[in-house]
């Protein structure tokens, strides 16, 4: 079973590498779309169908937005890196961070054995409470929906605020009436 996850993750990594290193900007955006659909597949095989549906729809919209940004621009072929010294420094920093950061995963629980509900532990964790009492307390069969809309709905309210603010920023940046009014 984990071989499937290795294959999908390698697919995503290869798509991301092509997206980073290719010359044309439009094909780079399309490779990002391939990485996103691979992510949707891996969510589906990780038993998270809610996130798979959301990811695959969001990915379509993100592709439309990104292609709108890149198409019909004159110079979509700007590639190449920054100055040589800063490139070297960045690569070294990224490599050192990777080598140090992989040590962190030794402290994680093993893959496939989540820390929340081991049978030997008797203490009540939050996830165990949601799984055992979620249907009785909220009436929703989908535990994820009961978490995001009942137990932790305050998070969702904050998320709605963040989405509202970012959309507001985008529309304010792209409006065209204001400049004309200032002129007249």
């Amino acid at each position: 079973m984990p071989i499937l996850f290795y294959v999908l993750l390698l697919f995503i990594i290869i798509a991301a590498l092509i997206a980073v290193e290719t010359q044309n900007l439009l094909s780079s955006v399309i490779c990002i779309g391939a990485a996103g659909f691979g992510g949707s597949l891996i969510f589906l095989f990780l038993k998270a169908p809610d996130i798979a549906i959301t990811q695959i729809t969001v990915e379509v919209l993100a592709l439309i937005i990104l292609i709108r940004a890149t198409i019909s621009r004159d110079k979509t072929f700007i590639s190449g890196d920054r100055e040589f010294f800063s490139v070297i420094v960045s690569v070294v920093v990224v490599l050192v961070l990777f080598l140090i950061g992989t040590r962190v995963f030794d402290t994680f629980p093993k893959f496939g054995e989540p820390a929340f509900a081991v049978e030997t532990k008797t203490e009540q964790t939050a996830s165990k409470h949601y799984l055992t009492n979620g249907l009785k307390e909220t009436g929703a069969a989908n535990i994820v929906a009961s978490v995001i809309l009942d137990y932790r709905a305050y998070d969702t309210l904050g998320e709605a605020t963040v989405l509202f603010t970012s959309i507001l920023g985008a529309t304010v940046l792209l409006r065209k009436q204001a400049k004309i009014k200032v002129q007249t």
């Binding site: 984990p2 780079s28 959301t54 110079k75 994820v144 978490v147 995001i148 989405l163 970012s166 920023g169």
Partner: protein, 116 residues
């Protein structure tokens, strides 16, 4: 090992955001980092042989499923994070379009006034 591959994906995104000159490509690097973080969070809650945290009527008894299901809490966190990433992507793309319209290029080394 799977966690390390997710971290490698994150580092590819970080490299792209740090090194590249094109503005849209920096945005793509941030998008790759978001993918890596989402996949890592879901992987922590995965249980081999577990089922999706959605109860069906014959399955009925919720008490039994707490030892058979995957962790629902990271899924709830990631579900909101995906939609937020779309909103922030729209904001970043609109900033890129405005900058292109003002300066005529996506190259951030050509945009002098961005250098503080």
């Amino acid at each position: 090992m799977l966690y390390a591959l997710c971290f490698l994906l994150f580092m590819i995104g970080l490299y792209c955001a740090l090194v590249k000159k094109n503005m849209v490509r920096i945005v793509l690097g941030i998008v790759i980092m978001e993918y890596a973080v989402n996949i890592l969070l879901i992987m922590i809650g995965f249980r081999i042989g577990g089922e999706a945290p959605i109860l069906s009527p014959p399955q009925g008894l919720p008490l039994k499923t707490s030892l058979q299901s995957v962790d629902p809490l990271p899924q709830a966190l990631v579900l909101t994070a995906i939609v937020i990433s779309l909103g922030s992507l729209a904001l970043m793309v609109s900033i890129c379009i405005r900058t292109y319209q003002r300066y005529g290029t996506f190259d951030i080394t050509q945009i002098r006034r961005l250098r503080g």
